[in-house]
Symmetry: C2
Subunit: 335 residues, 2 copies
Amino acid sequence: MNSEETNNNLSQLGEFGLIDRIRNQVSDSDSVAVGIGDDCAATIIPAGELLLTSKDLLIEDVHFRRDWTDMYHLGRKSAAVNLSDIAAMGGKATHLFLGVGLPKTLTATEIDQFTSGFIDEANAAGATLCGGDTCRSNGSLLISVTVHGSISPEHLLCRDGAKQGDLIYVSGTIGDSALALAQLQRGETPAAYLGQRHHSPTPRLELGQAIAKNNLATAMIDVSDGIFSDLGHILDQSQLGAQLIQNQFPLSDAARQHLKNNPQDAETALRGGEDYELLFCAPALNNDKINQLATELGVPLTQIGSCVPASQGLTLVDAAGQQRPIQSTGFNHFR
Amino acid sequence: MNSEETNNNLSQLGEFGLIDRIRNQVSDSDSVAVGIGDDCAATIIPAGELLLTSKDLLIEDVHFRRDWTDMYHLGRKSAAVNLSDIAAMGGKATHLFLGVGLPKTLTATEIDQFTSGFIDEANAAGATLCGGDTCRSNGSLLISVTVHGSISPEHLLCRDGAKQGDLIYVSGTIGDSALALAQLQRGETPAAYLGQRHHSPTPRLELGQAIAKNNLATAMIDVSDGIFSDLGHILDQSQLGAQLIQNQFPLSDAARQHLKNNPQDAETALRGGEDYELLFCAPALNNDKINQLATELGVPLTQIGSCVPASQGLTLVDAAGQQRPIQSTGFNHFR
């Protein structure tokens, strides 16, 4: 057996061989005092800034299916969905930590593809992979990511600051990812653009930081579970209701085309999650600045509704102009 | 159905109900600007200190079996094994993050027991649970923990600082956990003390900090994979060999009693991991101070060997006085 064949076998490579292989792909960073290979990573947080931390579990056949994605994009998405949480607070991404539970059937080449995607996504965000955990899984592929970021305390954007009368905005387009997922679940092949939005979402880090630094918003969240569910968290924590206007929801050309051929998916586009766009509330007087920022960054920022008293709940003016109440619950993992 | 029955059902409780339930068990902390319930936690790292981060995946039937432990102690151990990594760098534990993938069969009561154990262990370490992730698992119970700590840069203890001639010490006793595990694997009931050491290890945080603050050691690691494997990491990174003396290995009374009745387990006691004791190297001139620290803290610190040139490798003078080479590999997850 030549060494390439040997090294493609996880049992031969071993846990520490695998860790060395990952470490060799990571560039040095001034903010990392101790990186991969000790009991802990030791990192430097900019003086006077808050440390932002989020973690996500991605479980095979719950969060992803390996026959629907390639390992490189699974790696990118695993980093991206975590980085999106930093964007949602207005923060700068700094460090990533990757834990994996690996089924025996996975080859070292597949793991290399996964880590390449993960590291490419980290690099695109200016964040450094500096630790984690590798172990065997008896069943599914398990991915556990922790992301660090930082932000000045005065710029921190939480979910609880929205005010009555604030306008509600969303970045980019919504529903693309959910439409792709619905097609995959039906055994259909999504349009390329929808598939890309599902498999390789882009965390809105630059946008999140610009919104925070310019004090444009009162509350912000990323769209992971779906507009209604994620807006629901802002409304709960800010003690507000909201009125949304369906005709203002920003849809991509690909989503419009899809809905023309599949009108039954309209509700999926509205309710679906995993777009990883930013949803935020802002005083009406910031509207011009928000439009200007959209132009500067080349990211659409669309007003889709406004905040109302909690007693009015969450309502949607639907495509037919009828106002109807909305259950804000999105994806419930325990249903 | 009364509300207690309703709430014991995860599907009824829901993801956000469960998160609320966990949040209600956590005390406030001055170092937490934003805790459970936003996109990220926002925490405060002491000015001038390095951030220490470690993460561990614990997978059912790989790292633990639910028929061998109760949920409360599984919670404690999940926190403890992570906190031990902070101890191994000499750091102070500050914050914990908990991700769980929950099988459908788990009741809310069982999850409460688990989180109670986790939070009790966090509190004992002076650390605050301030975020995480909850989702459904199709199969095993999955636990993903991230721990944060902090330390002054000048006190940081890594694996690469050991010097030729340094003495090698280990805290507490070793082999207890591995002997309990061997018995569980054979369907036997371990002695109470050995079982407790396996199911409820104590992270040596106070000891680790004292060793670091007093500059007593040159390199340190916690014993998770086994003495030979963990010392192997120090030797690799410090480019050294070591000679260990088996008769000096500190064994508990319970382990000695067990080995009297089960002499076939001698190698298990030597090689086994999960004691979560601290293993460190120190110049011989620090020996008196180390003995004094052991007395002050009431934790045995035993010299078990010394560092030699790398060319001599890792050897053990066994119980019969014979010197033999040791393969430093401990637990390899991918074998």
